[in-house]
């Protein structure tokens, strides 16, 4: 700032200002209203980054409280209430004095903003802000993006070192120290280590979603190497089955499905390519920042080869697989709904924020003003995820598809053109055939008529009566063949995928008043969340802004990367322990829960970033801890002090997810086919669930892993429907876990359970042809639970099998022995030991 002249301000005047500034009843409140409406946002947006407590205090000046500017800066007083011309602050923002210009760097405020500040100073600078750095709790609305920066999830990552723990040999890693310190603080002790069988079963299910085979169990138990567990972990992390399990976790967030759902359940015939891209990317341990960037802007990234281009494009199918009201005739509404679905999905999935709340009004609880919502919405309204295509006899708005391969675009265009013109082609085919018949029968008059009215229907040679008849016939036959070929070649669907594109003319979006699509408020530039970063988003005018958004989401210095890392690390923890350090995994806002171990969460997030965003690294770090390898037994102290096991005094006991349960049944029965699948819906019609009788229903009768089962919205495979699969219409980080009667009915009666039980029985009988019941039972337990039965369990089964055989009521000519063992195998599948992971 330039030279400073002291201004004399009388005490009386100050008192007046002070009383004016109180947010009280009466005339004073009009001034405060003016401040709240015009001045606070202005200061927050333009000045706080350099002049607020907790940020910077440039020139010794604070502008985030009344006391701040009353005290003045290094150059003395900056505001003289009632006298704008004498106030340094006003002089600075007028930008006329070359030595005194604020905000700096040639970015003057708008004329309107200057006028507001002048008017505010003239009215005596009413200001209700009591304390610096405390803007959150004072008068700032919860949606204030600057004040909101104090919320725990939005603060920079802490760099806490693992805490000291009382003389303990227990910790195996820094993570353990964080856990143990909290346990000790609550006078709790960690549970004993899990026994090795339990641990092996746990790590197999957690990393690859399958049980270990008896041979794998034996090898592990017999191995003497101290690093045996670590070696199993590495082997599982490297197995292709890892991506099938951990990719599925991401697919829950991506609301992956093979059909649209909602009003018109059209088939997403090509969605599987995105599903398999996710599995492959997880297996390749693609760094998460790259993983995310490809999904948000893969179609905009540079590429070295066509296959690379296609992979990146397929990744961006993430934006296309959402559910949409396809038949709505309200285009304006639909456009905003589609963008909303994307804002909400990205916000929840990556940032753990409930952005959808800010669609109709400033967020009531989190620092997200409506203007930020529409800044993001503009990015997605500038993106095409639907297109008009031929479907079921008409041109309809459908999910956007694009061709794959070097000539993909041409082939796709030709295919669509064919369907668009198909009725015309069919008509033409009729005509050329009719012309041929006329020619053959020698009806020259009618043929000439036809050639006159429809020249495309008759070959020019054929239309010429002066030519030899055989040549005319040949010419017309060629035309028939040509027209028929046109129909035949185009009828096969070319390789294509769900791929978004930037709109022809990207544009900023106007705020919609009360969220109503046709009530326009002011336009806001496309951009990001101001609670995380200042300044304009620098989105080129002709770009949607998706690429910039993807970069911002993973930018750990100037973007949302630190929050994204917290959210992701917490999700990994949630999957491994059944509960996140932040229990509300999809809500890191003020209505979510605070972390149980905030320093640990930051430690994990930092580790994730430092590893180059390697999810496999993070998983490995966690599963190698002592914490992860604890047993799950209860103890009195734990139950009394921490009944929900928030502090992790024992390992959680969990129910298998439907995928793991089905895969385990098939695996144990010896039926599981580990071959990955492409489409599992190709046999379905364009309506995935037809109105009326639907003979072509989605199938589940193939023995491949459950991740490849069709995810038809509103018609999930029974095992998914019954056992709390994710709701594929919305992004979900935490599946519900329910106990409903249909689950019991499923295990007792479903044909798929019956079939797996019988296959297991056949396997047992084949593998141990001369064994007695007891050996058979031991083998059954080894296969299905990786452990021998207890004496009691063995006795239960022995008596059941004997009794069943004694009944001798063969059904369908089935062997009595096989029947008895099938029932026993099914009982084991239905048992809590099989369905629970200790």
């Amino acid at each position: 700032m330039g030279s400073l002249r002291p201004f004399g301000v009388g005490l009386v005047c100050w008192l007046a200002v002070v009383s004016n500034a109180r947010p009280a009843d009466g005339p004073a409140s009009a001034g405060v209203d003016y401040f709240e409406k015009h001045i606070r946002p202005l200061l927050a947006e333009n000045c706080y980054s350099c002049h607020s407590r907790g940020k910077k205090q440039k020139g010794g000046l604070l502008l985030d409280s009344r006391a701040g500017w009353v005290a003045g800066g290094d150059q003395g007083l900056v505001i003289v209430p009632g006298n704008a011309d004498s106030s340094l602050l006003i002089r600075a923002i007028r930008y006329k004095d070359p030595d005194l210009q604020m905000p700096p760097d040639g970015k003057p405020l708008s004329k309107e903003a200057v006028a507001h500040l002048e008017a505010w100073v003239k009215m005596g600078a009413p200001d209700p802000r009591e304390v610096s750095g405390n803007d959150t709790t004072s008068a700032a609305p919860p949606s204030d993006p600057i004040a909101g920066r104090g919320h725990w999830a939005l603060r920079p990552l802490g760099a806490d070192q693992p805490p000291a723990v009382k003389s303990s040999k227990w910790p195996r890693s820094p993570i353990d120290s964080f856990i143990l310190a909290k346990l000790q603080g609550a006078r709790l002790k960690p549970a004993d280590d899990a026994d090795r069988r339990t641990l092996l079963r746990r790590i197999y299910f957690q990393l690859i979603g399958l049980p270990p085979t008896p041979a794998q169990v034996t090898a592990f138990l017999d191995g003497r190497r101290p690093d045996a567990y670590g070696r199993v972990v590495d082997q599982l992390l490297g197995s292709p089955q890892f991506g099938e399990r951990w990719g599925r976790h991401w697919l829950d967030l991506a609301r992956y499905a093979d059909s649209n759902g909602l009003d018109e359940n059209f088939l997403f015939r090509e969605a599987w390519r995105y599903r398999n891209w996710v599995i492959d990317a997880v297996n390749a341990d693609m760094p998460f920042d790259r993983f995310l960037t490809e999904q948000i802007a893969g179609d905009l990234l540079p590429f070295d080869s066509i296959p690379q281009r296609d992979r990146q494009r397929i990744a961006a199918g993430f934006l296309v697989v959402g559910a949409k009201v396809l038949l709505s005739d309200n285009e304006g509404q639909k456009r905003m709904d589609v963008a909303d679905e994307l804002v909400d999905t990205v916000g929840r999935t990556v940032l753990g924020q409930t952005l959808g709340c800010a669609r109709c009004h400033d967020h009531k609880f989190d620092p997200i003003p409506t203007s930020d919502y529409y800044a993001l919405a503009g990015i997605f309204t500038s993106t095409q995820v639907v297109q008009t295509r031929h479907m079921l006899g008409e041109q309809r708005q459908m999910e956007r598809l694009a061709g794959l391969g070097a000539d993909g675009d041409e082939r796709n265009a030709a295919y669509e053109k064919y369907w668009k013109e198909q009725s015309k082609n069919k008509e033409r085919e009729k005509q050329v055939k009719a012309a041929l018949e006329l020619l053959m029968s020698g009806d020259e008059v009618k043929l000439a008529d036809l050639a006159r009215t429809n020249s495309a229907g008759v070959a020019s040679l054929a239309a010429d009566p002066s030519q030899p008849k055989d040549q005319r016939v040949r010419a017309q036959k060629e035309l028939v063949a040509e027209v028929q070929a046109l129909a035949a070649t185009a009828s096969k669907i070319p390789p294509r995928a769900m791929i978004p594109a930037d709109a022809a003319k990207p544009a900023d979006e106007a705020i919609r008043l009360a969220g109503q699509f046709d009530r326009l408020g002011k336009k806001v530039p496309r951009g990001f969340l101001r609670v995380i970063s200042d300044g304009p988003a620098a989105i080129p005018e002709n770009h949607s802004g998706r690429l910039e958004l993807a970069r911002w989401l993973t930018d750990t210095r100037n973007g949302a990367g630190q929050l994204a890392a917290r959210v992701l690390a917490n999700r990994v923890w949630h999957h491994l322990f059944g509960r996140g350090l932040v229990r509300t995994v999809d809500n890191f806002g003020r209505t979510g829960e605070a972390p149980s171990h905030p320093e640990l969460l930051d430690f994990l997030a930092r580790d994730l970033i430092d590893s180059g965003w390697s999810v496999k690294h993070l998983v490995r770090q966690i599963v190698l801890t002592r914490t992860f390898t604890m047993g799950s037994r209860e103890n009195k102290a734990g139950t009394a002090i921490d009944p929900d096991d928030v502090l992790l005094w024992r390992a959680p006991r969990r129910r298998l997810e439907p995928e793991a349960m089905r895969d385990a049944m098939l695996a144990v029965a010896g039926q599981l086919d580990l071959k990955p699948l492409d489409s599992s819906v190709s046999y379905l019609g364009d309506q995935a669930t037809a109105v009326g009788a639907n003979k072509n229903r989605r199938r589940t009768d193939f023995p491949n892993r459950s991740v490849y089962l069709p995810v038809i919205r509103n018609d999930l495979p029974e095992v998914f429907d019954v056992f709390d699969f994710t709701n594929p219409q919305t992004s979900t980080g935490m599946r519900p876990e329910t106990m409903v009667v249909t689950q019991g009915l499923f295990m007792l009666n479903d044909p798929s359970v019956m079939a797996a039980s019988e296959a297991l029985a056949r396997r047992l009988l084949a593998e141990c042809p001369s064994a007695g019941d007891k050996e058979m039972i031991d083998r059954l337990f080894q296969l299905s639970l990786g452990a021998p039965p207890t004496t009691g369990e063995r006795a239960d089964l022995v008596s059941f099998v004997r009794q069943s055989k004694a009944r001798r009521v063969p059904v369908d000519g089935k062997d009595v022995n096989l029947q008895a063992w099938s029932l026993a195998c099914q009982a084991l599948f239905a048992s809590s030991r099989f369905q629970t992971l200790d």
Partner: protein
């Protein structure tokens, strides 16, 4: 969105305490006849709504859903001007539409008469229902959104179309709980598979025990319909009983070895319930125990009433056994883009007698007083002609009617303009209908909320007002 009400997150422990008297109470509560099944994960909120009920006029609802959209002006809302001006152009300005021309007016082919002491108007295709006129409250001023079936069905059943929301029956189940521990609180008989499909009886984010249990689907005759996995043709009942004994013994041994575990306790209770339901449900679905007189009353055994008659009788049996929300759906047969005359004749013939029988039967059994019967489709039909003799979809105005539990019989409420194009007096939006339905059941639609994804949601979003005038 209803974003204003936030409750403290509920832990699994809170939930168990609230629902089943604490740890270990899980199985006991279920066996004692209270419903302890439902959500057991920390993700979940309470199993049942923690709202104190208002005065309940009705204890349950039977919704008779006419899939496709019946033509209101051909059934309950006579419009003489359609006939005097048939064949003429309907101008937008006549009915307050922004469009210049709306199409050609199609007169109604039917004769209308007033019925009962109350003089409710009906067409001449409803000889049985017309005798119930004084029990009926006909709302002529319904309106909704969604020009296509899918959107309109979702709005009718869940209040919204662009987001997945719990269905009305699920909210009722959540709000009132079960009366019968062997049956779900929400059963849907022959639901449509398309136009939203399971979403129309889905629980969305409510605990899964509030999902409607489906019996068959619309295109399958109810006599052939089954509930999935409700029995096992491969195993004799004795064998299955033995097998259940083995499963439960294994489960109890597991439980014994780990101490307390609500999941295992819940699982044990769940198998018992599943096994019991295998015998209770088929017993209800078997109409063999009904008298010949009752079967005749519903028109069972004779065309064209057999199917809908069976559905209605089944609905009565479920109502009798304490199911809270029962929906009966027709097949997709009310969508008369062509031949609205023939179509309406045919459909009325299927449902007229069974509906009247249902009302009489409920009355006779003392159930009509606390059973609210609701009739209607997803929208109405246009006053303008389509395809020469049909009518198109019309969400702007249509008729639904109610009878029984808590509604004023013999009342015609609301009205439409001279063409049945839009409501002019006392319009009732779909959200208002939902609010009123809940109110009749003693549930305040503004307080029946569920916290999900950081917000409290309700059936009526931020809308809906109770139509007190139609409640007794």
């Amino acid at each position: 969105m209803n974003c204003h009400h936030f409750t403290k997150p509920i832990t699994r422990r809170d939930m168990l305490r609230a629902s089943a008297g604490g740890f270990g109470g899980f199985a006991l509560a279920a066996l004692a006849g209270k419903d302890a099944l439902g959500a057991i994960s920390p993700a979940a909120g309470p199993i049942y709504a923690p709202v104190p009920p208002l005065r309940a006029r009705a204890k349950r609802v039977i919704f008779l859903f006419m899939w496709g959209g019946p033509s209101h002006m051909d059934m309950f809302d006579p419009k003489p001007r359609l006939n005097t001006e048939g064949g003429k152009e309907l101008l937008g300005e006549t009915v307050g539409s922004k469009k210049d021309k709306l199409g050609t007016v199609l007169g109604s082919p039917f004769t209308f008469r007033q019925h009962g002491q109350s003089g409710i108007w009906m067409n001449d295709l409803l000889p049985h229902l017309s005798r119930q006129a004084d029990r009926m409250c006909v709302v002529r001023s319904m309106h909704t959104e969604g020009n296509a079936h899918g959107e309109a069905l979702l709005r009718l059943h869940t209040g919204q179309a662009n987001l997945v929301r719990p269905s009305v029956g699920s909210w009722v189940s959540y709000g009132l709980g079960r009366e019968n521990e062997n049956l779900p609180a929400f059963i849907t008989i022959s639901p449509p598979r398309g136009h939203g499909g399971v979403q129309n009886y889905g629980n969305a984010f409510l605990p899964a025990n509030h999902q409607g249990m489906a019996i068959g689907s619309a295109e399958i005759p109810i006599a052939k319909a089954v509930v999935s996995n409700l029995g096992n043709p491969q195993i004799s009942p004795t064998s299955q009983r033995d097998q259940l004994g083995l499963i439960q013994s294994l489960n109890r041994r597991h439980l014994g070895s780990v101490g307390h575990d609500p999941r295992i306790e819940g699982l044990i209770a769940n198998y018992e319930l599943a096994f019991r339901m295998q015998s209770t449900m088929p017993a209800i679905m078997d109409l063999g125990g009904e008298s010949r007189q009752t079967l005749d009353l519903y028109g069972i055994g004779s065309a064209p009433t057999d199917n809908f008659g069976r559905q209605c009788l089944l609905a009565r049996k479920f109502a009798e056994r304490g199911v809270r929300y029962i929906q009966v759906s027709t097949d997709y047969t009310w969508d008369h883009h062509k031949k609205v005359k023939e179509g309406t004749v045919e459909e009325c013939a299927k449902v007229d007698k069974p509906i009247a029988a249902l009302l009489d039967d409920l009355k006779q059994r003392g159930l009509l007083e606390d059973t609210l019967v609701l009739w209607g489709g997803e929208f109405g039909r246009t006053p303008m002609v389509e395809n020469g003799d049909g009518r198109n979809h019309h969400p702007q105005a249509f008729t639904m009617w109610m009878a029984g539990g808590g509604v004023r019989g013999g009342l015609t409420y609301g009205s439409t303009d001279d063409f049945g194009y839009r409501p002019v007096e006392n319009p009732v939006h779909m959200h208002d209908l939902h609010a009123t339905l809940l109110h009749a059941l003693g549930l305040d639609h503004t307080r029946l909320t569920y916290r999900y994804a950081g917000r409290d949601f309700r059936l009526t979003d931020v809308y809906g007002k109770v139509v007190h005038d139609i409640l007794a």
